[in-house]
């Protein structure tokens, strides 16, 4: 076996690390660690310069282990692994040490101890690196079909796009009709078309597309498996169907908040939500009220629900414009806390509504409007910030602008798909900035208001984006399994069966072999959790990249300065 030669690369990350951690000290310290033959620091280890430094040193110093101390492996590991590979070093001989998120950024006021910590983290990383071994990755095929959960505008768009890419699609909609929340909407922003003009052709194209199967009144009962190979159970009124798909898109949408308890809603007959307003006037011939007061941010941007509903202002503007167009004499007031008319179209819309005579009155969360009237709302009393006094606005109809809220079902779906929800209860994407429609779990994507309230152009863009992501593995045809899978040293395995019992994926079986009955891991099914390893008393089960020697050596490296314990 060749001698272990570790190279350590410490990143300044501009000032992000070097502004707190004394990088030169860490470099000096690393030089003294066992098996370390090369140490250097880089302004940005992830820049091409930093990466080529790594590649050069692998060649020059004959490095067979590389340790980079910089940021989080969760975003940057692939980059450095690729660099190692380019230099001819198996990428599993790379170890990442996080001295930014886990050190410099959280100990900004204690450079001395942050530096000590960084040294120890590097030491631990080097200790582990010495026990790393080269690994081969397994490739597995991707089943060429996709599942889209939710038949609203987002789900339909995603399904159609995938279908038109020649990919087989299963679309599950829980209602008996496609269209989702939008079905109840009267006209659509920004084109002000009738909803039917959008929905009907979409539904038609979807139903006639040969690659798309739609399950109305359907529920996803179960999803098992992983990217490329999901087993899905769909139940409809008539049947339970087992499917195989390669990727999954979540497009389950959201609900409009029904603001019971706010402004007499559900008690007073003429206090309705924006969606109820649209439903009411979707029918021809409904009387157009003369005095309408809309109250925005009902149930949103409050301590109990801090988020902004994003497009509820647009909805209020749209409905206010419609009212003024029906009856230019109508008095339409919108009580608002900030008019979220972002971008070109909404701002234009907002300006148009003002030109038409819609009046916007700003209210303060500390001083909310009050509904006057017992049996029905007669007027709304509001504190007019600019006028500095209370105004009383007569109201035939009060319309409450409420945000979309997450579906209760999200939790069930999130557990089934093993993807997280954020604190508001919407699906939580892999990275809010650069991976907005992906999950950390491979092969599952999200779009539309299931992720966060979005208007139609936004939902549709997201749907296309999700379709792009869901199409990639299918078009590629292969996924590569990271070599962090478990394996069994059959020579020491006693076949006690603990591993078989704990494996959540049924990836381990007892089999007869050279050493009698022993456990054996099916790598294609192994997801690399390592549950089995911890359950194995003999230590025969191990996990690639996280084996006992590697983790043990990290503990020892950290504990080396300590005297032994169990004192108190």
């Amino acid at each position: 076996m060749p001698k272990t030669r570790v190279g350590v690369f410490v990143c300044h990350c501009g000032n992000n690390i070097a502004g707190v951690v004394r990088v030169p000290e860490v470099v000096e310290y690393a030089r003294g660690l066992p098996n370390v033959v090369h140490v250097e620091d880089n302004l940005y280890a992830c820049s091409e310069e930093g990466l080529s430094a790594i590649k050069e040193q692998i060649a020059e110093q004959n490095l067979n282990r590389v340790v980079v101390a910089s940021c989080t492996p969760r975003t940057h590991e692939p980059l450095f692994k690729a660099a190692c590979e380019e230099a001819g070093l198996n990428k599993y001989l790379f170890e990442f040490v996080n001295i930014r998120e886990h050190c410099s950024w959280i100990h900004m006021h204690d450079p001395a101890r942050a530096t000590e910590k960084a040294k120890e983290l590097v030491k631990m990383g080097v200790a582990k690196a010495c026990y790393l071994e080269p690994q081969e990755e397994l490739e597995s095929e991707v089943f060429p079909a996709a599942l889209v959960i939710g038949g609203g505008v987002a789900g339909m768009t995603a399904a159609l796009n995938l279908g038109r890419q020649g990919i087989q699609v299963h679309l599950v909609e829980r209602e008996q009709e496609l269209g989702g929340l939008v079905r109840n909407v009267r006209t659509l922003f920004p084109t002000e078309q009738d909803t039917e003009e959008l929905l009907e052709p979409l539904v038609e194209q979807l139903k006639s597309h040969p690659q798309i199967t739609t399950y109305l009144g359907g529920e996803v009962e179960n999803v098992d498996g992983f990217i490329g190979d999901f087993d899905v159970t769909i139940a409809t009124d008539r049947q339970t169907k087992e499917l195989k798909v390669g990727t999954v898109i979540v497009a389950t949408g959201a609900h409009e908040l029904k603001p019971t308890g706010f402004y007499g809603y559900s008690r007073l007959p003429n206090v309705v939500t924006q969606l109820e307003f649209e439903e009411r006037f979707k029918q021809e011939g409904a009387d157009i009220p003369r005095n309408v007061v809309m109250i925005n941010c009902v149930g949103a941007r409050i301590p109990e629900r801090t988020y902004c509903g994003r497009f509820c202002c647009t909805t209020a503007i749209k409905n206010a414009i419609w009212l003024k167009e029906q009856d230019p004499e109508a008095n339409v007031y919108v009580l608002q806390r900030d008019v979220m008319a972002y971008g070109v179209d909404i701002e234009k819309f907002y300006r148009r509504s003002m030109e038409l005579g819609v009046r916007f009155v700003r209210y303060d969360i500390e001083n909310p409007p009050q509904i006057m009237g017992e049996e029905r709302a007669e007027a709304v009393k509001a504190y007019h910030q600019l006028m500095g006094r209370e105004v009383v606005l007569p109201a035939d109809l009060v319309v409450l602008t409420t945000p979309l809220v997450p579906r209760e079902d999200n939790e069930r779906l999130s557990k089934m798909l093993k993807v997280p929800l954020g604190s508001e209860g919407f699906f939580l994407e892999a990275h809010v900035k650069l991976r907005p429609i992906e999950f950390a779990t491979d092969g599952v994507y999200v779009c539309g208001s299931a992720r966060y309230p979005s208007n139609i152009p936004e939902s549709v863009s997201q749907a296309y984006a999700a379709a792009a992501k869901a199409a990639i593995p299918i078009r590629d045809g292969l996924v590569r399994v990271q070599a962090i899978t478990a394996f069994c040293d059959e020579g020491t395995c006693t076949a006690c069966g603990n591993c078989v019992q704990v494996c959540p994926f049924g990836a381990i079986e007892l089999q007869e072999g050279r050493f009698g009955t022993t456990a054996r891991v099916n790598v294609a099914q192994c997801k690399g959790c390592g549950c089995c390893v911890a359950a194995c008393p003999s230590g025969a089960l191990q996990q690639r990249g996280f084996d006992d020697r590697q983790l043990f050596s990290m503990i020892c490296a950290l504990a080396e300065e300590m005297t032994s314990g169990f004192g108190g």
């Binding site: 076949a495 006690c496 069966g497 019992q501 704990v502 020697r549």
Partner: protein, 319 residues
């Protein structure tokens, strides 16, 4: 009872298919009973049975794996749990063993007997179970010794006086109660009630003595690994020198490995040359497994070991 035992074994040997039977025979000294392997009909007469047959013989049954035929095994009720566990842990196939169950009404701790009698062990000629008491023969003299004075700790709360896993049995016995007040986990509870520091001091005092001779491991039926993790070069969990912290690590890890496996045979404590009260550790393991997860080792063949399964409703003090 010994006669009936010998008859059964003779018959089994005569029938063929059984390579040998593991039983007990008299050792060099009267109070010293040792395991023996009965291979031929001639050997059968060596077999004995009585309150000094202390060993859990199931440790030896694993040899059957290497043999063509079956292995016979003499088991007390307590030791039968080990047999069940070995079956559960896939260490032996049921049709490779012949289990002969012997009813037992308590085992004697020779050291306690010596103390009670005030006579050196070599002078004692025999001990016989007469139901309420043990009848001890010292030369011509016969003395009845109340059981509670000399009984093994585990026998005080014996729940399985008869083997419940057997091919042949020498009869049933009802569970007996020597000291009704003394609960199974009394000694553990006593320790649990001590303040933390005193518990620590207690165990430190015990483990300071450990010389890491590994006798507890060697005797344990559940220590059947091909290579013990403690013997591996890497990770080297233990230093070679028996530091206190390493000794504690050794016993804690063993205790963890035995969670759901320890069947309270008490052999580890019996063989410890430094007299470390290991039962106090392993009774705790059994107690927690029972209280936290409702599990008792070695009873049901199809019950899943407690630490490789879970319930959604498990206690969760970690929120």
């Amino acid at each position: 009872m010994e006669d009936r035992l010998r008859d059964i074994v003779k018959k089994l040997l005569a029938e063929g298919g059984m390579e040998y039977l593991i039983g007990y025979c008299q050792g060099a000294e009267p109070l010293h009973v040792v395991p023996c392997f009965v291979i031929r009909q001639d050997d059968v007469e060596k077999l004995i049975w009585g309150p000094l047959c202390l060993q859990n013989l199931s440790k030896y049954v694993l040899q059957a794996r290497e043999l063509e035929g079956k292995v016979g095994l003499l088991v007390k009720g307590c030791d039968a749990r080990a047999v069940v566990e070995l079956l559960k842990q896939n260490q032996i196939e049921r049709d490779k063993i012949v289990v002969v169950g012997v009813p037992c009404q308590g085992q004697v701790v020779p050291a306690k007997l010596e103390e009670v009698l005030g006579v050196p062990m070599e002078e004692v000629d025999g001990v016989e179970d007469i139901g309420e008491a043990f009848l001890v023969t010292i030369g011509e003299e016969r003395r009845e010794i109340p059981k509670e004075q000399v009984l093994r700790e585990k026998c005080f709360y014996c729940k399985h006086p008869t083997s419940f896993e057997y091919d042949f049995t020498l009869g049933e016995m009802v569970p007996f109660s020597i000291d009704a007040d003394k609960g199974e986990f009394a000694l553990v509870e006593e320790l649990e009630q001590l303040p933390l520091e005193e518990r620590r001091a207690f165990w430190q005092k015990q483990f300071e003595r450990c010389i890491r001779c590994n006798a507890c491991r060697e005797v344990c039926y559940a220590c059947y690994c091909k290579e013990c993790m403690f013997d591996k070069k890497m990770p080297r969990w233990l230093s070679k020198t028996p530091f206190l912290s390493d000794n504690q690590l050794y016993h804690l890890i063993r205790a963890f490995h035995l969670a759901g496996r320890c069947i309270d045979c008490g052999e580890c404590e019996r063989v410890c040359p430094m007299r470390i009260p290991l039962s106090r550790l392993y009774k705790k393991v059994q107690k927690d497994v029972a209280e936290l997860f409702g599990y008792e080792a070695g009873i049901e063949l199809d019950e899943v070991p407690p630490l490789v399964t879970f319930e959604l409703e498990d206690q969760d003090p970690f929120m």
